[in-house]
């Protein structure tokens, strides 16, 4: 049961949405089941890595959809609510997720994995690197996230 909870936690760390995180976990487990043997030793690392990539992809596609919806709203085709207000109301919540999605895959993955509670050994297994390298990756990723947030909020 621990592995399911971890996969949800990893996806939730990226998405900040529990229900969507559970969707991701279900998708990832089913995908694993279709393609791999259930007793494969690499399963935890595979599941964690797949959870990150699936969750990041959902954020990226969500952003594309939101841009499309915003453009349509601006053309007067949709919501009577001021689309700019809608965007601003959710801006704070999305800022970090978007910044995470803009980072290269490895830094984004190491952040989500570690802050989901995985050990350095587990993070290393998911990323295909030694546990000794995780600290360096994590340090660089944290600095990159800080820069990305600062760049996105210049004030």
């Amino acid at each position: 049961m621990a592995e399911y909870g971890k996969v949800v936690a990893v996806a939730n760390r990226v998405l900040a949405d529990r229900a969507e995180a559970e969707d991701v976990a279900q998708e990832v487990f089913l995908d694993f089941h279709r393609k791999h043997r259930p007793d494969a030793g690499y399963a935890p690392g595979w599941l964690h890595r797949a959870a990150i990539h699936t969750a990041l992809n959902r954020i990226r596609s969500r952003k594309r959809r939101e841009r499309r919806e915003l453009a349509e709203a601006r053309r007067g085709n949709r919501s009577p609510v001021d689309p700019q207000e809608v965007v601003e109301a959710r801006e704070d919540r999305r800022l970090v997720r978007d910044a995470l999605a803009r980072l290269p895959s490895k830094p984004a993955s190491v952040l989500a994995l570690r802050y989901s509670g995985l050990s350095y050994v587990e993070v290393g297994a998911a990323l295909g690197v030694g546990a000794g390298q995780v600290g360096t990756l994590l340090r660089r990723a944290e600095q990159a996230l800080r820069k990305e947030i600062t760049r996105a909020t210049p004030d």
Binding site: V8, F32, T136, R146
Partner: protein, 374 residues
């Protein structure tokens, strides 16, 4: 040794005991690395705050049901097991998924997810009063504490037997370091098996701790008690039965000591280890410090719990004893002097083991014994 890399400093923040002694020793002695560590820790805390999310509490049984509903054949399994392409596949696939999930979860035992987050390497005394304890009541609702392995005491004939049972080096007190009153005194040896306790954060625990399990492994340990314990106990019981007040009770114990002779206890224990399935020492400290109603003394004590250096504050009840730092066996230890004149103790940690000597002796006598342990 060269300065620590950023990566090593970052890991020091999360998993200090995953690093070797040389690395941690360099950190303790290098002001530059400690300064860099502060910047690393600051970035880590900043990232943690940015990435904080509401906890995703999951219901694995319900998840399993959902997965069962969405199960489709695994191509590899179908090539191995013939005859699965039939109308009853839905139920069979569900079973396969159930087994797969169970296997996936089962072969990652809890132990492999545990990360050692704290192991004390030195103790420092903190004097506390009963008033300091009033703000700690709230922590009792943070989770359930369970002892999964209880300690068991086994008396042995010799120090060597106690060492064999405990797996620790035998306690050896040099004869010339013993107070003359204990020369030729009977010695009682015992070994205590290791014990394990867990606490899983739930209930009213802060969000970032929820779901994490801390495992504390204590011991094994061994003891050697010099002096006639039986006679002391008998004498104290007899004298106490006639004592009507605390003061009279203390006098009764003094009389018993005078009659039965001094007692010296020497103990050695493997340094306790705290492991976690998620929460780090920094998480736990910040959660504890965020609680209202803590006394300044308790706040200071929590702040002194230091993962990289392994510092463990030792609470000493005010009024009953005074405590101060002493140098013993080349390291810092804590001496606890009993103001009532009934005894003293010295505690220190060295080479991953906790040592203690205590007895109805003066601090100087105890330090002589402590420094004579081999």
């Amino acid at each position: 040794m060269r300065h620590l890399t950023d990566g090593a400093l970052r890991r020091l923040y999360d998993e200090p005991h995953a690093l070797d002694d040389e690395t941690r020793s360099h950190y303790r002695e290098c002001a530059e690395c400690r300064e860099r560590f502060a910047a690393v820790a600051d970035d880590a805390r900043h990232a943690m705050a940015l990435l904080a999310v509401p906890p995703a509490t999951v219901d694995p049984a319900a998840a399993l049901e959902r997965v069962k509903g969405g199960a489709r054949p695994a191509p590899r399994s179908l090539t191995i097991v013939r005859g699965w392409r039939r109308p009853a596949f839905g139920g069979l696939a569900a079973a396969v998924v159930a087994v797969g999930l169970a296997a996936t979860m089962a072969f990652t035992p809890l132990a492999s997810n545990l990360v050692r987050i704290f192991q004390p390497t030195q103790v420092s005394p903190v004097t506390i009063t009963s008033g300091d304890l009033t703000g700690l009541d709230a922590f009792s609702t943070w989770g359930d504490v369970k002892w999964t392995k209880q300690p068991e005491l086994q008396q042995t004939e010799t120090a060597g037997d106690a060492a064999r049972v405990s797996g620790l080096p035998a306690i050896q007190v040099a004869a010339d370091r013993l107070p003359s009153a204990l020369a030729g005194a009977p010695v009682t040896y015992a070994a205590v098996s290791g014990s394990t306790g867990t606490v899983t954060f739930a209930g009213s625990a802060p969000r970032k701790l929820q779901g994490s399990t801390l495992t504390v492994v204590i011991g094994p340990a061994e003891t050697a008690v010099y002096g006639d314990l039986g006679k002391l106990a008998q004498q104290a019981q007899a004298d106490r039965s006639g004592a009507g007040s605390d003061q009279a009770g203390q006098q009764a114990v003094r009389n018993a000591i005078a009659s039965a002779g001094p007692i010296l206890a020497v103990a050695e224990m493997k340094s306790p280890q705290v492991s976690s399935t998620g929460a780090s020492v920094a998480d736990i400290k910040s959660s504890l410090l965020a609680q209202p109603g803590l006394s300044p003394t308790v706040r200071a004590a929590i702040s002194e719990i230091d993962s990289p250096t392994g510092n463990l504050p030792l609470p000493i009840p005010a009024g009953l004893a005074n405590a101060h730092t002493v140098r013993v066996q080349g390291v810092n230890g804590t001496a606890v002097g009993d103001n009532t004149g009934l005894g003293s103790a010295v505690i220190w940690i060295k080479n991953g083991r906790v040592y203690g000597v205590a007895g109805t002796l003066t601090e100087d006598q105890l330090l002589t014994v402590a420094n004579g342990l081999t």
